[in-house]
């Protein structure tokens, strides 16, 4: 059975094009994609993940406010019983020139399993998904 991924652009962010391209690429790679589109509140990612029994949530943020929007995301998942769901975030996550390692650290501390900088290629995300799902399968056995 294919894995289910929830995608969307979080917060008051209307940048939908990159997220669409990502969603199409994920579908081509054999994933079942639940694309929530632009302007998606954090709570809607969680609700959709529950109904669709999603294996991962991929959050996009392009307008620099991602840090505010994503605060408490993992906690919301835990509250909803999705303790172990795989969480990725990517895009233009912060405003200004900040060293990526610091930005990444902040998002990992928020409970995301991976964070991706601007300009990440789809192949990189696909490889990360394959690796993380394989690790989970190994852990489950």
């Amino acid at each position: 059975m294919p894995r289910t991924l929830v995608t969307g652009v979080i917060g008051a962010d209307t940048h939908i094009v990159g997220n669409r391209i990502l969603s199409m690429a994920l579908e081509d790679a054999g994933y079942r994609v639940v694309a929530l589109g632009a302007l998606t509140p954090a709570a809607d990612f969680v609700r959709a993940a529950i109904e669709t029994a999603a294996d991962a949530i991929l959050v996009s943020s392009l307008y620099g406010q991602g840090e505010l929007d994503c605060r408490g995301f993992r906690d919301a998942c835990i509250e909803a019983g999705l303790d172990d769901i795989l969480l990725y975030v990517g895009g233009n996550l912060v405003v200004g020139r900040q060293p990526w390692a610091e930005v990444e650290r902040r998002f990992l501390d928020m409970g995301f399993d991976r964070a991706f900088p601007p300009g990440t290629r789809v192949e990189t995300a696909l490889a990360a998904l394959a690796e993380d799902f394989a690790a989970r399968d190994a852990r489950a056995q």
């Binding site: 962010d13 209307t14 940048h15 929530l36 632009a38 959709a48 109904e51 669709t52 029994a53």
Partner: protein, 463 residues
Amino acid sequence: MKAALLVDFGSTWTKLRALDLDGGTLLGSAQGPSTVTSDINVGFDAALRALAERLRGLPDFAYRLASSSAAGGLRMVTIGLVRELTAEAARQAALGAGARLVGSFAYRLTASDVAAVAALAPDIVLLCGGTDGGNREVILHNAHALAASALRCPVVVAGNREATDEILALLDDGERFVTAAANVLPAIDTLDIEPARAAIRDVFMRRIVSAKGIDRVHAAVDGVLLPTPAAVLEGAKLLADGIGARAGLGALVVVDPGGATTDVHSIGTGEPAAAGVIRYGLPEPYAKRTVEGDLGVRHNVSAIVAAVGVEAIAADAGMTVAEASTALDALESRVETLPGNAAERALDETLVRAAVDIAMKRHAGTVETVYTAQGPVQVQRGKDLSAVKHVIGTGGAIVHARDPASVLAAACADARDPQSLRPRAPRLCVDAHYMLYAAGLLAQVDRAVAFECARRGLRIVKE
């Protein structure tokens, strides 16, 4: 002449409409008391005698069809997973099937939830949860909980298709009727309530009607086909859609303020009327029914007064606050009261206006401006009804109002509330002879004549 008899077994009255099928006109109407708790035939026979007197004998009826809201209506409990998603889709399906929702549950049913469902003693339970290929665990958990409970009412299963077979096997223990329909929310962005609605109607027709003793009238009618609110919704849909060659009225709204609830039906996609508006939330049903259980113009007088304020009601009715308070108290203590003098009628219409205003505000969608880094964006929740061309009032409170246009105007857009997407400049009509339910019933056998009857039954009160 070919004729049809359309019967509505209501909670208080048994209403009859005799229609001429050749001309699509109303031959006559009559009513008798509702006697479903003793012998339903007593009230029905009384109504039929009254009709025979009026028509100087009864024609041969080609069709004798009935709807019913008697014996508490179609009492339903809905169960879904996430409150805003499958649990909401389940509610929409049940309301669209004409049900009276007595309970709605979400997530895993707890022991006390199951006890509450059993205590509610619904006629039908609608069990949903999970998109197709999505969550199976919760709907299975809830099916196990229902299977182990004392509840024996029919269950319609309309959740994740991957769980359906297992649930049918689980619940079908010989004592309980269980049937399956397609998922009400097959994908997160797809609402599909029509199959569940059809399944609910089927269970209503085959099982609930006899369970409530309404089928004892079977010799006199061919069938009790629909719960009355579903018949009204069918009539509204027919009016909006038309039939092949005859164009319908297009998107429309029907408001029905009653003693215990205020119902609003809207037919139309509710897509944004303006370009560039982003829709948010669960997709909306094309034929949508909402029921406001706190806006009955008799049973919930105090709730309406609390929402609007006694000062506003007194001013609208042309009374002093003291006079209005006394009259409102009297209304609530004697719910059967019909308005007598002019002051009482004015007060009554004020209440009806307030109920229609609030019910329509809840039914219609909203639009708000969200400021993003890329500039302001319009975000729409619910249905955009601003371009709707017809608002139709049905039920005694509107039909017998002195000024039905002023009551229906309360359903329309209000400059003080620009976010509410209510009809901006509709034609206002009254379903003068209570033909919508009759047309909805007749549509089950002859859509063309039914459309004609519904259309002719409309009286325009404001262009």
